[in-house]
C-alpha cells in the first residue's frame, strides 16, 4: 500500500507514546541532576527593595544580581514608534506581573527546591497595577515601563476612505466586543534541562519547544555566547500551540545556573505556574462600526482594536504581532473596499502576550462574524445569505483584499453552502419556531474565515519582527541498508510531522514510511529551521523534504538505470524497489552499491551521493490561504444560562491533504480549543492584578462532555504556489468556534432580545444578561 501523499496511514510516533516510552524533558535522567524552583512575584506591580537569601542556602539561590553577565530579552522591531522592553530573566528593579521570576533555587529534588524558595524573603514596594488595557492605554502617569511616556508598545493605523462608506450606508452597526485572557494549556507544561558538555565544550539545553534552532539563537544572544557553544534539543514535546514558540526567561536562567554551577539543572513548569505566569494570550477589545447597504452588503468597516499585551515584548514575535495581525486580518474572507482600523498594543501588569494557535484571528473572526449576523438582523435577512454575498466570490480568485492580502485560490461561499447542508440548515427555522413554542431556545450560527499559512518572508518582515523566517531546509538520505533518513530542523509536538514528512519522502522514493526515520528537534543534527508555528510545517518543512527527496530520487534512478541497464527516465520507484517495467533492483542493493560496492557503478558516477540537503520556499511570498466555515446549533437554557452545543460542523479546504487522518485530528483539536475560548476559558484578575484562576478547578478546560461530536467535510482546492498544492492548516479550526457559537447563542436568544458580545459566553455571563433584561426590559452589556 502506498504511504505517500494522501495516504490515511497511522502515525509513526504512536508506538512510543502508547507504551510510555516517549522522552519528555521531565523524563530525562542524568547523573548529578538537580531541580529548580522559582520565587515568583506575588504582586502585579512593584519596586523590588530587597531580596533576602537565607544564609544556609546562599549558594543555592540566584537572583538578577548574580546574573550580571546576562542580557535582558529584548525583542526589537522595525515598525516605527515601537518601543522595545527589557525582559530580564530574573526581575530587576521592578516586578511587572504576578508570577514574574525573581529568584531561582536549586536542590536535588523539586520539593526541596520549593522548600528553599519559601525561605527567600521579598521586600516589595507595591505600585498601582495596570489591569485594564483600555485604562492603561490613556494613562500617562502610571506606567508599566517607567521610562516610557505612555503604556503603548505600538499603535498602528490603516486609513481607508471610511467617509465614502458612511455617506452611502443604509445601515450602521456599532458594537463592542471582548475576548478573555487565556492560557494555552498544553498538557505538558514548559520544561528545560541544561548542562555543560565538557567534551563538546557546549552548553546543551533540552527544552520543550517548538523552535529549537531559534532558541539556540536566542540563548546565545542573551547569554552572550557563540552559537557554536550552544546546542538545543527538543525531545518529545507534550503540546505547544504557540506557548512553546518563544524564548522563555526560564530557559535563560536555567542555562545560566547550569553553566555557573557545572551541574545539570532542570526546571519543570507546574500547572499553577502555567495558569499564573502563563496567562498570556487572546485578550482583545474591539470597537467596531460597520456600514452596509439595505441588503446587508458591507460598504466599510471602521475598527479600533486594543490588545492587552502584558508587561513585556516576547522574543522573537514581539508584543505587536497580535495587533498587527488583527488589523490586517479583520476583513478576513470578506470583500469590501473601505476599511479604517486603529490598533493599540497596550502594556499592562500581566504576563507577556504570546501568539496562540490562530494568532489574532480568533478575535477578529469573532468580531467580524458577530457583525455579519448583526447586519443581517438589521436588514431583516438570513445571516447565512448576507454572509455568502459578502464573501470573496470564487470567480474573483486570485483576489487581493482591502488590506493587501493575496488570496490564492478557493470558493469561500461554497464552504458556507456545504456547512449549511451538513448542519441541515434547510428546515432549521421551522424546527426553531416549534421549539420556541415549547419554551426551548435553539439557535444556529455560522463563522467563515481564511487562515493565512506559511506566511512568507515579506509578510513577517512587514510585522517588523527581529527575526524573519525564510527558507526551510531538509536533509534526506538513503542508509546503506536501503532505509531512508529524513532530517528537519522543524519540530513535532503532536502534529504528526514524523509521519507526514515521511510521507513526503515516501511519495518520491517509493519507500514505505515504516522504513523512513524522521529526525527533528536537535540543532546538533538537523538543518537550521525557524521552527513550527504559523501553520508552516507542512508547506515549508514538507516542501523541503519533498524537494530533497525529488533530487535524491533522480540520483537513485541514475544508479538504478546503470544497474538495470536502462535509462533513468524509464525507472519507477515503488515498494522499495526501482523498476524498469518488470525487472527491478531494490533500494537496498542500490545503496549497497553506492556505499559498499562502488565498483559496480560507473567511473563517472555522480559523487554527490545518496544524501541530499535542499532548501525550499513557495513561489509566492505572501502565504497561502486555507479557509473553512464552521456552523453550530445550540440550545440555551434561559433559566441557567447554560449553552449546550447540539451539532457542530466544519467544512474546510486546505489544498492537498497529505494525511487525512492527521488533518481531521487537527480540525477536531483546533475546534475543541476554540470551543474552550467560546464557552469556558478565562483568566480572571482582581483589581490588584491577582489572577484568581490558578487551578484547573477555576480555569475550566473543556473535557469530553463539553465537546460535541464534530462533523467534518472537505474540499481540495490546490494552491498553485506550493509543492503539491499544500496549504497549512494547523491553526485554522481554533479560529471560528467563538463566532459560530455566539452567533448561535444570539440566534437562540433573539426572542428575548439579547445579544452576547463577549467570550467566553459563560452561563454566568448569559444568565446575568437574561436577568438584567428581565428586570429592566433593556439589553446592555
Amino acid at each position: 500500500m502506498p504511504t505517500g501523499i494522501g495516504a490515511r496511514v497511522q502515525r509513526q510516533e504512536d508506538r512510543r507514546l502508547l507504551n510510555g516510552q516517549a522522552i519528555f524533558v521531565d523524563d530525562i535522567k542524568m547523573p548529578g541532576l538537580w531541580e529548580a524552583a522559582y520565587v515568583r512575584s506575588p504582586i502585579a506591580h512593584g519596586i523590588i527593595k530587597e531580596i533576602r537569601k537565607p544564609a544556609e542556602f546562599e549558594t543555592r539561590i540566584f537572583t538578577a544580581a548574580d546574573m550580571d553577565d546576562v542580557l535582558p530579552i529584548r525583542a526589537e522591531s522595525s515598525l516605527p514608534t515601537y518601543k522595545a522592553s527589557d525582559f530580564h530573566s530574573l526581575a530587576t528593579g521592578k516586578v511587572r506581573y504576578v508570577g514574574e521570576c525573581i529568584a531561582i533555587c536549586i536542590a536535588p529534588t523539586r520539593a526541596e527546591a520549593e522548600d528553599i524558595a519559601e525561605l527567600v524573603e521579598l521586600d516589595l514596594d507595591p505600585l498601582p497595577p495596570l489591569i485594564d488595557a483600555l485604562v492603561a492605554r490613556t494613562d500617562h502617569t502610571n506606567l508599566v515601563h517607567e521610562d516610557w511616556e505612555d503604556n503603548l508598545f505600538l499603535s498602528t493605523s490603516f486609513d481607508g476612505n471610511i467617509e465614502e462608506a458612511k455617506a452611502k450606508a443604509d445601515v450602521v452597526i456599532e458594537r463592542e466586543y471582548h475576548t478573555a485572557r487565556q492560557c494555552m494549556m498544553p498538557m505538558e507544561g514548559k520544561g528545560t534541562l541544561a548542562y555543560w558538555d565538557g567534551k563538546a565544550d557546549q552548553l546543551v539545553v533540552y527544552t520543550s519547544t517548538q523552535i529549537p534552532h531559534l532558541i539556540r539563537t536566542g540563548l546565545s544572544e542573551f547569554l552572550q555566547m557563540d552559537q557554536g557553544q550552544v546546542r538545543v534539543i527538543a525531545p518529545d514535546v507534550g503540546g505547544g500551540f504557540g506557548y512553546k514558540c518563544i524564548l522563555q526567561p526560564e530557559e535563560i536562567s536555567v542555562s545560566w545556573v547550569a553553566r555557573k554551577t557545572g551541574r545539570p539543572i532542570r526546571w519543570t513548569e507546574d500547572r499553577r505556574e502555567h495558569l499564573v505566569a502563563g496567562a498570556n494570550t487572546r485578550q482583545h477589545h474591539y470597537k467596531l462600526i460597520a456600514y452596509a447597504d439595505k441588503v446587508g452588503r458591507i460598504l466599510g468597516i471602521d475598527a479600533e482594536i486594543t490588545v492587552d499585551v502584558g508587561a513585556y515584548s516576547v522574543w522573537p514575535f514581539t508584543a505587536c504581532l497580535e495587533a498587527s495581525q488583527a488589523g490586517g486580518n479583520l476583513p478576513g474572507p470578506y470583500a469590501f473596499k473601505n476599511y479604517r482600523c486603529k490598533t493599540y498594543s497596550v502594556a499592562t501588569n500581566k504576563p507577556p502576550f504570546t501568539p496562540y494557535r490562530g494568532v489574532a484571528r480568533p478575535g477578529v473572526c469573532f468580531a467580524m462574524e458577530l457583525t455579519i449576523d448583526a447586519i443581517a438582523r438589521a436588514v431583516g435577512r438570513e445571516p447565512i445569505d448576507v454572509r455568502r454575498e459578502n464573501l470573496v466570490p470564487a470567480a474573483a480568485m486570485p483576489y487581493t483584499n482591502v488590506t493587501g492580502k493575496f488570496y490564492d485560490t478557493g470558493d469561500y461561499p461554497d464552504s458556507v453552502n456545504q456547512a449549511a447542508k451538513m448542519i441541515e440548515f434547510d428546515g432549521f427555522r421551522a424546527k426553531q419556531a416549534k421549539a420556541l413554542r415549547n419554551g426551548r431556545y435553539i439557535g444556529i450560527g455560522f463563522s467563515t474565515f481564511t487562515e493565512q499559512s506559511a506566511h512568507g518572508t515579506k509578510v513577517f518582515g512587514a510585522w517588523g519582527l527581529p527575526l524573519v523566517p525564510g527558507y526551510e531546509q531538509a536533509m534526506v538520505k538513503i542508509t546503506p541498508s536501503g532505509s531512508i533518513e529524513v532530517r528537519s530542523g522543524n519540530h513535532s509536538f503532536g502534529q504528526g510531522l514524523e509521519t507526514t514528512l515521511a510521507q513526503m519522502a515516501s511519495e518520491w522514493l517509493g519507500v514505505d514510511i515504516a522504513n523512513i526515520r524522521v529526525t527533528m528537534g536537535d540543532t546538533g543534527t538537523t538543518p537550521y529551521s525557524t521552527g513550527a508555528y504559523a501553520s508552516r510545517g507542512m508547506v515549508m518543512a514538507g516542501g523541503a523534504v519533498s524537494k530533497a527527496s525529488e533530487v535524491l530520487a533522480e540520483r537513485v534512478k541514475i544508479h538504478a538505470a546503470h544497474l538495470l541497464q536502462c535509462k533513468p527516465k524509464d525507472i519507477e520507484l515503488r515498494d522499495g524497489e526501482a523498476f524498469n517495467k518488470k525487472t527491478s533492483v531494490s533500494l537496498k542493493d542500490i545503496a549497497k552499491a553506492w556505499y559498499l560496492r562502488p565498483d559496480r557503478l560507473p567511473d563517472d558516477v555522480n559523487t554527490a551521493g545518496l544524501e541530499v540537503t535542499e532548501g525550499y520556499k513557495p513561489s509566492i511570498d505572501t502565504g497561502v490561504f486555507s479557509y473553512a466555515t464552521h456552523a453550530a446549533t445550540v440550545e440555551v437554557d434561559p433559566a441557567t444560562g447554560i449553552t449546550k452545543i447540539k451539532d457542530y460542523v466544519i467544512f474546510e479546504d486546505c489544498g492537498r491533504r497529505v494525511n487525512p487522518l492527521i488533518l481531521e485530528g487537527q480540525a477536531y483539536g483546533g475546534a475543541a480549543q476554540g470551543i474552550g475560548t467560546a464557552l469556558y476559558e478565562e483568566v480572571i484578575y482582581d483589581a490588584a492584578g491577582q489572577p484568581l484562576t490558578s487551578t484547573l478547578a477555576d480555569y475550566i478546560v473543556p473535557g469530553p462532555n463539553e465537546l460535541p461530536d464534530f462533523k467534518l467535510g472537505h474540499s481540495e482546492t490546490l494552491s498553485p504556489y506550493t509543492r503539491h498544492g499544500i496549504k497549512g492548516v494547523g491553526e485554522g479550526a481554533a479560529i471560528a468556534p467563538s463566532g459560530a457559537i455566539v452567533n448561535a447563542i444570539n440566534d437562540a436568544l433573539r426572542p428575548l432580545n439579547i445579544e452576547i458580545h463577549q467570550v467566553p459566553a459563560t452561563p454566568h455571563r448569559v444568565l446575568s444578561k437574561i436577568l438584567s433584561v428581565q428586570n429592566e426590559g433593556v439589553s446592555s452589556e
Binding site: 521531565d26 523524563d27 498538557m187 500547572r271 499553577r272 481531521e664 484562576t693 477555576d698
Partner: protein, 384 residues
C-alpha cells in the same frame, strides 16, 4: 521524613525508603524510572497521572508514598500480555486518539477501566466516564471512537466483563399530596445570628462592618481595647509578640479547613481616649506561601442599652496578595464573619470577667481572609 514501604508495581515487588511527602507519581518516575506516568496538574483534575491502584484507576499525583504500603500499581509500562490494553493501544493509533501523547498513559488507564465496566459502546456514557481525563490536542473524537471500537470488539469476541456496572434502578417519582408530619426528622432552624452591618468591597479591599454589644461598662471595655496585648488575645489566631509604644510586632494564623498560613508582621495601634476609638493597622507576609496581608481594624466604643453594657462598632478592612489570593471568590464570608465575631465577643467577655479564653476550634479570625479571596480550592474535590 523518610519511611520504608513495600509495594508491587507492574508485577514486581519493591521495598523503598522514601520521604512521606513523595507523590506516587514521583515515586514511580524517580525511584523506579517508570517515566510513562506523567504529571499534568498535581491538582487531581487533569488525569494525566492516572494509574491503576489495586486494579482501579486513581490519581498518582495526590496519592502520597506514606499511603502506598502494600498496594499494587499498574502503570503504562506494565499491562504485559493484557489483551484489552493491546486492543486499546491499536485502536488509539487507528482512530488517531493521540497527538502529543502526554495525556495518553492516563487516558489508557481510564479507558481500560471503562472497557472493563461497560457492556455497550454508548458514546455518551464513554464521554461521561472520561470526564476526569483532559486532552488538549484531539477534541476527544478519536479517544471516544477508540474506546467504543474496543468495546465492540470485546462484544464480538464474546468477552465478558470482569467488573460490569449494574444499571441504576429507575427513579421513582410522583406522590399524592399529604400533610407533613410534625415529627419530620430534620430540624429546620439554620442558626441565625444577630446581624448588623455589612460586608463590602472597595477596589481590592474587603470591608467588614459590624456592631455588637458586650456586657461590661464602656470604661472597662475601653481599657481592654486600648491594651493591645489584652485585645490581641481575644482575636482568634492572633498573637502579639512585642509592643513598643504604638508599634507592635506579631503574627496571625490563618486557618480555614485544611488551609493554614502564618503571617508575621508589624503595625501600629493608636487610640483616642476622648471618644474611645482607635485603630490597629498591620502588614505581614506569609513565611511559607509568598502571600502578603494588610489589614486595619477600626473600633469605637459607646454606651450600651444598659449602664452595665457597651456597644462596639468595628470596621475591618483587609487585602491579601500573592498565592492565597489567586483563587476565585466564593460567598463564604458572611457566615464566617459572624462566627468569628461571636468568638471575639465571647473572648472579650471572658477576659473582662477574669476567665480563661478557650482555644478556638480549627478556625481563626483570619479565616475570613482566605474565605473571601480563595477559590473553590477546597471545593473541587468534594470528597476526602
Amino acid at each position: 521524613m523518610k519511611q520504608e514501604i513495600s509495594l508491587t508495581v507492574n508485577g514486581e515487588d519493591h521495598t523503598l525508603i522514601v520521604t512521606s511527602r513523595t507523590q506516587l507519581a514521583e515515586l514511580l518516575r524517580n525511584e523506579l524510572d517508570l517515566t510513562g506516568t506523567h504529571l499534568g496538574c498535581e491538582q487531581g483534575v487533569c488525569g494525566a497521572c492516572t494509574v491503576l491502584i489495586d486494579g482501579k484507576p486513581a490519581r498518582s499525583c495526590i496519592t502520597f508514598a506514606g499511603s502506598c504500603h502494600g498496594i499494587k500499581v499498574e502503570t503504562i509500562e506494565g499491562f504485559q500480555n493484557d489483551d484489552v490494553m493491546d486492543r486499546l493501544k491499536e485502536a488509539f493509533s487507528k482512530h488517531h486518539a493521540l497527538q502529543c501523547g502526554f495525556c495518553t498513559p492516563g487516558m489508557l488507564a481510564t479507558a481500560r477501566d471503562i472497557v472493563e465496566r461497560f457492556t455497550s459502546p454508548d458514546t455518551e456514557k464513554i464521554r461521561y466516564e472520561l470526564s476526569g481525563n483532559l486532552c488538549r490536542c484531539t477534541g476527544y473524537v478519536g479517544i471516544v471512537a477508540a474506546i467504543a471500537d474496543v468495546i465492540e470488539q470485546q462484544i464480538a469476541l464474546g468477552i465478558s466483563l470482569s467488573a460490569p456496572t449494574i444499571d441504576v434502578p429507575e427513579q421513582k417519582s410522583g406522590f399524592a399530596p399529604f400533610e407533613p408530619s410534625s415529627t419530620t426528622r430534620a430540624k429546620p432552624a439554620n442558626i441565625t445570628l444577630q446581624k448588623s452591618g455589612k460586608v463590602s468591597a472597595n477596589g481590592n479591599q474587603t470591608i467588614v462592618e459590624r456592631g455588637f454589644s458586650i456586657d461590661h461598662k464602656p470604661e472597662v471595655v475601653w481599657q481592654h481595647f486600648r491594651d493591645l496585648k489584652s485585645l490581641g488575645k481575644c482575636v482568634p489566631g492572633a498573637v502579639i509578640d512585642n509592643v513598643d509604644n504604638d508599634r507592635f510586632e506579631g503574627h496571625v494564623e490563618v486557618r480555614f479547613g485544611p488551609i493554614k498560613a502564618d503571617f508575621r508582621g508589624s503595625g501600629t495601634h493608636t487610640n483616642n481616649d476622648m471618644n474611645k476609638s482607635g485603630s490597629v493597622i498591620g502588614r505581614g507576609a506569609d513565611k511559607g506561601g509568598q502571600s502578603n496581608l494588610e489589614g486595619q481594624l477600626n473600633y469605637i466604643i459607646g454606651k450600651g442599652e444598659t449602664p452595665e453594657s457597651s456597644k462596639i462598632d468595628v470596621e475591618f478592612k483587609f487585602e491579601i496578595q500573592g498565592m492565597l489570593a489567586q483563587f476565585n471568590r466564593p460567598e463564604l464570608v458572611t457566615g464566617l464573619v459572624d462566627y468569628i465575631l461571636e468568638q471575639f465577643v465571647q473572648n472579650c467577655n471572658s477576659v473582662l470577667s477574669g476567665n480563661e479564653i478557650k482555644p478556638g476550634q480549627g478556625i481563626s479570625a483570619f479565616a475570613l481572609v482566605v474565605a473571601i479571596v480563595r477559590a473553590k480550592i477546597a471545593t473541587w474535590f468534594k470528597s476526602n
